[in-house]
Every structure is written in C-alpha cells, then in structure tokens.
Symmetry: C2
Subunit: 248 residues, 2 copies
C-alpha cells in the first residue's frame, strides 16, 4: 500500500468514505500487496493513511469481514482471509464448469427461472432472428463450491430448443442441455465486456453487499459452422472473479 494518489479518498463523491476505504483495501489485496493470512496495518495506521477517523476505517473493515475477505481478531490484528479471485477463462470454447475446474472442487448451474418471450432487438440481433421471434429465456446462477460466481440470462430460439429448460433443470449444465438437441460442440463467437454496480437482483442472487461491482459479458455462442444458438448476458462479481482471455 503505497503513498500515492491511489490512497486518497474523495469526499462528497457519492461513495461513502468507508466504502472507498474498503475498495482500497480490496485493491491492495488484489494486486498482491498482502499475502494470504497477512496482517493489515493497524486501524490507527489506516486512519492516518487515509485521513479519516478510526471509526470510519472500522466501518470499512466491518464490511469486508461481512464479505468474507478479512478476519479481525481482538488484541491481535486484522488478517486477509486466504481467498483469491477465481480466474474464469473466456476463449473459443467458454465453458462454465470446465473453466473453473482446476480452481474449485464442484460446480453446477442452478436454473432460477425460465420464460418464453418475443425476442427484443438485441436478443434478435444476437441470435440472428427476426425481432419478436419466440425465444426461451433461462435465468441461471453458476455456483462453485457452494458460492455463487455468476448470474446469467440466456436466450434460445424457442422452436429449435423447446424443452431446454427441463434439460437445464435436470443436468445443471448448458453443454449437457445443448447435447440433448444434437449440439455436441459450440464456440464463443463474440463477447462484449463492461462493468457496473450490482443491482438488487445481483445482490440477492450473487450474495453481494451493496456497492459491489459486477463484470457484465454479452456473448454469442455458435455451432462450429457458425450458426447462432445462444445469446447470453452474464454477471460476475468483480471482487470474486476475474476473467482470463486465453492465449490464441
């Protein structure tokens, strides 16, 4: 944790002082300033560094303890819990379960909801359909080792993939579900990435605290011969997951 601009706190910014301090601490952990189980500087030192009251620092630490990032021990200090961000690969064959295989011991996808609806402009464009065409929308949450790591909406052409919601509910896997429709392989054609604050649904489904940031991907998957089969929008909690674009 250096004495540079990154340590300054903005007042009246729309983000509370304690939240900014929490973010600075997360950032320092993410770039390796603190190893697993390392002790943070004492509260008094952090207060001095950020130019705020010790109680404000305690609010930040309290938030990070709730988020499972830190562990505070009375009389001893505040320590970094040994948890790094999961590294989720995005490449030619982006697969939720396979992607996190080496980092977690168990992964599955929970189907939260599904509906049949007319395709919006962006869904139609993504799937190569006419606007208003009937599509199936699956709302899912990806879990690894019992923790939510992604939340997604995926759209499929209703005519072609009738019943995919049942397949999804039974298999907990997009890949296995598509296999039931004769699709044994598919490729990631495009991915668009952005980031924003988590909304209320993100907070609930991803077990996040308010103020959290989510990475948002908009993706099109196609058959090997280039036919669009799936359009999806996924959200990953930025504090828990980083995206790794694989080598070419």
């Amino acid at each position: 944790m250096t004495g540079q601009a990154a340590d300054t706190i903005e007042r009246r910014s729309g983000v509370s002082l304690w939240r900014q301090i929490a973010d600075r601490i997360l950032q320092a952990i993410a770039i390796g300033d603190f190893a697993e189980n390392a002790a943070l500087p004492p509260e008094v030192a952090l207060a001095e560094r950020y130019g705020v009251n010790r109680h404000t620092v305690r609010s930040a630490i309290s938030a990070l303890v709730q988020e499972g990032v830190l562990r505070a021990e009375q009389g001893r200090g505040t320590f970094v819990l040994s948890r790094k961000r999961l590294s989720y690969p995005i490449g030619a064959r982006t697969r939720f379960s396979a992607g996190l295989q080496g980092q977690t011991s168990e992964r599955h996808i929970v189907l939260l909801a599904f509906s049949v609806e007319p395709a919006s402009q962006r869904v139609a464009e993504g799937l190569g359909l006419a606007r208003g065409a009937e599509v199936i929308r699956l709302e899912t949450r990806g879990e690894a080792d019992g923790r939510p790591v992604s939340r997604a909406a995926a759209w499929f052409e209703a005519k072609r993939f009738a019943g995919i919601d049942k397949a999804m509910a039974q298999t907990g896997s997009i890949t296995a579900s598509l296999a039931r429709f004769g699709i044994d392989d598919y490729l990631r054609q495009s991915t668009v990435l952005s980031a924003r604050h988590a909304d209320a649904a993100d907070l609930a489904d991803l077990d996040l605290q308010p103020g959290a940031i989510v990475l948002v991907t908009m993706a099109v998957n196609v058959t090997p011969d280039g036919q669009p089969i799936q359009f999806s929008e996924s959200r990953f909690p930025a504090e828990r997951v980083e995206l790794k674009l694989s080598a070419l």
Copy 2:
C-alpha cells in the same frame, strides 16, 4: 426502464442514493432503453419510480449532466446526449489506435511519466524476468477525439528497450516505439480482466467523476515466437468504453 428489481435503490449501502440513480440511468441508456436524444421520464416520475425525493433525482441528473451524458432544458425535459460507449477490441493483435479507428477520427497516446525500477513479482512474472531485474515503466493515457479513454502502466526490460520512453514521447504509439527496436509485430499472449472503482489518479487522468468504475486489464504482449516484451495494466472508464473480445 422496467419495474423489475434493477430499479430498486439500496439505502445505507455506502453508495449515495443519487449515485445509484445516476448508475441506473446510465444502465438504461447502455442497454438501449433510451435512444440518442430521447427524453428521460420527468423528474417527478423518476422520483416516484425510485422511491426517492425529486431533489435526489436532480442530484443524479446534475452529475450526469456534468459527465456529459445528459442535457437538461428548463421547461422542456432531460435528454440523452448522443454518445455510445466506444468498443475496444481485444484479440491476437490488440492495438490502441487501430482498435478504435472506425469509431473515432483521431487517436494518440500521451506519455505521462516514465521511470526505471526493479521489477516487482508480478512484473517479473509477466515479462519472464528475475524479480528485481531493471525495467522501464511508462505511464500513458490514451486519447481519442480529445477525450481520455484509457490509462496504462507498461513495463519493458530496461536492457533491451533503453530509450523507449523517448520513442514513446516522439511517436505517441506503442507499436511505432517497438518498431524502433526491431519489433515489427507482436501478439497479445494473455489478458486478465477485472473492475473496480476509479482511484484518484484515474479520476484525474481519465476526467471522471468520483464513483466511476474502471475496467482493468493486465496483459502480456509477446513477439511472434513467444518472447515476452511488454507487461501492462490498463484502465478503461466503464461508462465510456466496453471491451470487445474478437472472434477466434
């Protein structure tokens, strides 16, 4: 702008109500709920929708006017200024200028600072050097049509790239600078993506308002035969830039 969970506002979240409302408006614009020059619902309607006071909505709108996203006209309404996010491609050959060529009329990179320093653990790993090896660090800001769209730190092996700071200052281009060292082509070997709140330096260099979110990329570039030449960390304002991962 739908009546779903995304419209709810979290109190005592560490993010002020007005900032959350500003974010919701940005989100609605980003997903196409409002076309260019479209009018937002009136202040009173937004206040009702979000369950806050009209003055709180006005704070949010004021922030977005300052950010150049909205235009308010007394007696007429509040309108979306016609500006979409830039789409920055990341692929085998990620180039700042070429990447934004079709969307902007002029691009260049400004060298903000440079230093010679011993490689940290992560820089050493990225460049395939021994920890502590002497490296050159360039701090740059990428600008397009007079607006900052990225801010980066890039590291190079000092022995091999002595003088690259001068080349950078003269050419405003990483590619042109590397060409002076006999590197006529290079590839993006890996990219790791995350997101966080902008820090004070980001706010200053990227002309952002407090509370803004930045997309952060950590990347390694290599020669065609796989030799690492550049390790970099870049930040893109999430409100202005999305990242497009090109098809493989």
